[in-house]
Amino acid sequence: MGIWSCIGTTLDEVRDALYQGKSGIIFSQERKDAGFRSALVGNVPKVDLKAYVPRNLRNFMPEEAQYGYIATKQALDNAGIDEDYLNTHEVGIIYGNDSVAEATMNSLDKFRQANSTVACGSGAIFQSMNSNITMNLACLFKLRGINLTASAACASGSQSIGLAAMLISQGLQDCVVCGGAEENNMYGIASFDGIQAFSIRESEPEKASRPFDAGRDGLVPSGGGATIVLESYEHAVKRGANIIAEIVSWGFSGNGDHISTPNVAGPARSLELCLRNGGIDPKQIGYINAHATSTVIGDRREAQAIAQLFGERTVPVTSTKSQTGHEMWMAGASELIYSTLMMKNGFIAGNINFENPDEETACINVVPETKETHFDMFLSNSFGFGGTNSTLIVKNI
């Protein structure tokens, strides 16, 4: 696993931040001055890749590819996979991404200013494609297996892991790098701010993201990169890998409904399929990492879907977005890492800022403060615009 987020840029930092209930959210004067309704954002450090990637190759990498690179480098290092291994084995990549706003804007601004396509620069065509992360990482890390970008809105990261797990279970790949990354500049989400989906609790940035709480008023955007190295059990054992956890099953569904307003039936079918695919009884799940982004309707619908499958106020539920904000294309992957860190270290990170549920979120058991506890299996939800739903179940090893 590898992570670059607003609550830490190493697994140890992130584990500690989760345990301590640290918020990664800040107020951005730059966004306010630019005309944002909500200037709240995850405080993700910029990546400096000069020491790792030469200029001519870095020139193809927009912000999200840089986050993807640094998270993937960490993940491969942690997995004990080096250059020699990658040169002699067929490793694939499936990565979640769903925007290329800043890079596209910059190159087209230059084009329009100079009335010349040459002015776009040599990296622009690569930077402005949605598959920029997989194309860059495959070339830089010499990945010669499946090479695919999963674009499924805020379920992109989760879908990438589900797809990779499916290819591996089918015997089509032994090892796949998967995850998700999200550009964290203001251009990527300016139009999202425009539809008034963000929290405006600007006077208290750390309290703005409050999934399931009655006082929630919208999400807080964030970004970064999160990578997981997924491989078959036999492959991992054969190369002497430090096996962290197992993907037990993947469930997915489409709402076939409204583009932005979620329903209960779609997410419920994703949860149900995931449980059924893994042959898992709900009682086996020790923790649910919810998708809940801190929006009024979305949190309600997810709470109802969970209660429908698990019964009312049973399994412990939190949304780590209370600390990180919404990492969107990256979220499904980062939240799998957050949950795995909790499982491996014996705690559930509290859903910070949860004070009181509203009438419709009261049906689930939200854990408000960090709780030391042991669990061996968790479920992670990711839902996105267009009604794309993805659920993963992960088991401790």
Partner: protein, 80 residues
């Protein structure tokens, strides 16, 4: 612009864009090796010259520019 002004400006711009020490840019130094140009990053050199001086280096004339001195000559002769 005078030749001296062009040299000062373009050297600084190229050093920043291609992340090299400006001291490595001398009149007789080979452009391709010094800037580590390949078929794609060559486009960035052409783009800088066009954006800064309104000079589009033609494909036919590109092979004649091998040193920085030849680049300065080209810009000086074609600038608008």
């Amino acid at each position: 612009m005078t030749r001296e002004e062009i040299i000062a400006e373009i050297n600084a711009e190229l050093a920043e864009e291609f992340e090299i020490d400006e001291a490595a840019i001398t009149p007789d130094a080979p452009i391709y090796q010094t800037l580590e140009l390949d078929s794609l990053s060559l486009v960035d050199l052409i783009g800088i010259v066009q954006t800064k001086y309104g000079v589009l280096i033609s494909k036919a004339e590109l092979p004649t520019i091998k040193t920085f001195a030849q680049l300065y000559d080209y810009i000086e002769q074609h600038q608008k």
